[in-house]
């Protein structure tokens, strides 16, 4: 037990004596581990976050075009609308036996760069954006009325623009903000949505007719919509898929949403593989850094170890001190890598949330973090083993040179 304490004391003292080298080692290992974990986890988290941010919809019906564009436009409020649909499409799909929920939506305007999405007030009453979760309006606000120029503001928009109940604003034409495209209509903020961590937070919701009949819009388009958000009964989208995508030529059904998102991410699989390779390389660098650091301090400590041996230190005390040194550096490096990963994740998630409204869950203490943590410790131990053996064999000869 005393030997263990001596080993630990020697290791800690060696770290303190080589403080700068130790810090650089810990920082580099933390950086390598953090990037490794980040590359491993962030990709998964982004995929998961996007899959969970589909606001509880199974499918989107829109104008003929790309399914991905439809999903990104309707659910994530990205990209332009592929076109418009006639109101009759909504009525037809609403009454289809496999459809459980159908909410038409219309796009075309913004307020200071945040999209205005026209839809039916029922969506905020009946629809569950997440299992068991309905939209909530912060009191004392309420949902807009179908025929009024009223707005329900997403939590993020309210926060960014400082919009509050009773505020009035002029919408701007188009999905991008342009000061010279202001509409004459004035909208009254009647409610602020409670944050959901989904893209719903990033838009201003108004009545469907508001977008359809906005001053300056083409009267001929007054009966058109951008698409329909759908929930299906069970997983029965095949019939609709055949009807709209295989046989029809007027509309596109984006279904199932997770598969479409997955195909989107698969486009970047080469990037994921590159990042994974880079991450592995970083892990290797981390191990080599510990090895280099130990070998560097080992060179300085050879004399110390030989003296210790003369003082009666056993092989286990000497090797133990090197292993402890490596374990301590690895431990701090592993802890640092979790901190670095957390910072990286927070940065990535805040950027994604800021830009798209998708909230990411990044559990720090999951299996991946545990494996990375243990992996760094193992790398540290392996890195220590070689110098340990080498040192033990050479230290006495080098130091106890015959002087007489």
């Amino acid at each position: 037990m005393m030997g263990l304490g001596v080993s630990l004391k020697l290791a800690w003292r060696a770290i303190r004596q080589n403080l700068l080298t130790s810090w650089i080692t810990v920082f580099t290992v933390a950086l390598a581990g953090g990037l490794f974990l980040g590359a491993w986890k962030t990709n998964q988290s982004v995929r998961l976050a996007f899959a969970q941010s589909a606001c509880g919809f199974d499918a989107v019906l829109g104008a003929r075009g790309s399914q991905l564009q439809l999903v990104l436009n309707a659910l994530f409020h990205l990209e332009n609308s592929p076109g418009n649909l006639d109101w009759s499409h909504y009525e037809m799909i609403r009454d289809h036996p496999v459809v459980s929920e159908a909410y038409p939506f219309a796009l075309g305007d913004n307020y200071l760069g945040y999209r205005l999405v026209g839809t039916m007030p029922e969506m905020f009453i009946e629809h569950q954006w997440k299992e068991g979760e309905n939209y909530q309006v912060l009191p004392p606000g309420r949902i807009f009325s179908e025929n009024a120029k009223e707005a329900l503001v997403g939590a993020r928009v309210a926060e960014r623009l400082g919009l509050k109940l009773g505020d009035r604003f002029h919408p701007y034409h188009g999905l991008e903000y342009s000061p010279d495209r202001k509409h004459e209509d004035i909208y009254l903020v009647v409610g602020i949505l409670q944050a959901t961590g989904t893209p719903s937070d990033q838009v201003i919701w108004i009545p469907l007719m508001g977008v359809q009949r906005m001053e300056g819009h083409d009267p001929e388009e007054a009966n058109s919509i951008s698409g329909v958000l759908l929930n299906l009964k069970g997983s029965s989208g095949l019939a609709l898929d055949v009807k709209y995508n295989k046989q029809g030529d007027q509309a596109t059904l984006a279904w199932p949403v997770p598969a479409i998102l997955s195909s989107f991410f698969n486009r970047f699989s080469w990037l994921e593989r590159s990042v994974a390779a880079l991450a592995l390389l970083m892990a290797l660098v981390g191990g080599l850094i510990i090895l280099a650091s130990l070998r560097s301090t080992m060179h300085e400590r050879r004399r110390e170890f030989a003296v210790l041996r003369c003082m009666g230190a056993s092989q286990s005390v000497v090797t133990g001190s090197i292993l402890w040194q490596s374990i301590i550096l690895s431990l701090f490096g592993a802890l640092g890598s979790l901190v670095f990963y957390l910072l990286l994740s927070l940065t990535v998630s805040s950027i994604i949330h800021l830009q798209i409204g998708v909230g990411m869950d990044l559990p720090l203490f999951d299996l991946a973090a545990l494996y990375t943590f243990l992996g760094i410790l193992l790398l540290g131990l392996l890195s220590a083993w070689l110098p340990t053996r080498q040192l033990y064999k050479t230290s006495l000869q080098e130091t106890l040179q015959p002087s007489g």
Binding site: G312, L396, G404
Partner: protein
């Protein structure tokens, strides 16, 4: 039987020419408890190697070393380490204090290696060598003479039965030589430790009543090739 008995100790090393060359052969050596002996010999003649055998740090090729009833040549390495930590003190020419540790810590670490922990004793010993006020100083903050005094205190902190001093005054000026030597000898006497001091300095050797010429102890005669082997080992 004395404290230390050596019989027919031999050691060979591989020479640069690729042949095994015997560099050390000590047929017989013994040391009584509390004895103080000076071992005199030229540099590079194998005295330090002899000390490392006595300390059990390096094993000889053959021969017997009995230390306080323990047959060093029969003990496993771990047991030799333990014996060395508890019963042997080592003083080096270049002091070899652990630079990352204070004076006091150098002593307590030595105690820890022997499985002991007596802070009061460590303080008392530092006081005895006149460095109590420097107990928290690191070696580089001490003068050469002070460093050697700490090294002497460290060698004696476990009240060893045998102290091996390898050219302990080799780096000291005459004043510090006298002071360190006097301190070492008086502390050994006080703790009832035997002392083997290796030196090539006649001035040091003269202060010992009992001194042995290394050339008489070691049956291998020193020559140029032998010196070369020693240098290669270094």
């Amino acid at each position: 039987m004395g404290l230390l008995e050596v019989k027919d100790l031999k050691k060979s090393f591989l020479s640069p020419a690729g042949k095994m060359e015997m560099i050390l052969h000590v047929p017989k050596f013994s040391l009584e408890g509390r004895a103080q002996v000076a071992l005199e010999g030229a540099s590079g003649s194998g005295k330090t190697t002899f000390l490392t055998f006595l300390a059990g740090v390096l094993p000889a090729d053959s021969g017997k070393i009995t230390m306080d009833g323990h047959s060093l040549h029969l003990l496993r390495e771990a047991a030799r380490d333990q014996l060395r930590a508890q019963e042997i003190g080592y003083v080096f020419q270049s002091f070899n204090l652990l630079s990352g540790f204070s004076c006091l810590e150098n002593l307590t670490l030595s105690m820890n290696l022997a499985g002991q922990s007596d802070l009061e004793h460590a303080h008392a010993l530092l006081h005895a060598v006149g460095l109590q006020d420097r107990r928290n100083h690191r070696p580089h903050q001490l003068s050469i003479g002070q460093q050697q005094r700490v090294a002497i205190a460290r060698a004696l902190v476990n009240k060893p039965k045998l102290v091996l001093a390898d050219e302990p005054t080799g780096n000291l000026d005459p004043a510090n030589t006298d002071r360190s030597l006097s301190l070492l000898r008086s502390l050994c006497e006080e703790w009832e430790s035997s002392l083997i001091l290796v030196s090539h300095d006649a001035r040091v050797i003269r202060q010992f009543e009992q001194n042995i010429r290394w050339e008489e102890l070691n049956q291998i005669k020193r020559d140029e090739e032998f010196s070369q082997i020693q240098e290669d080992l270094a």
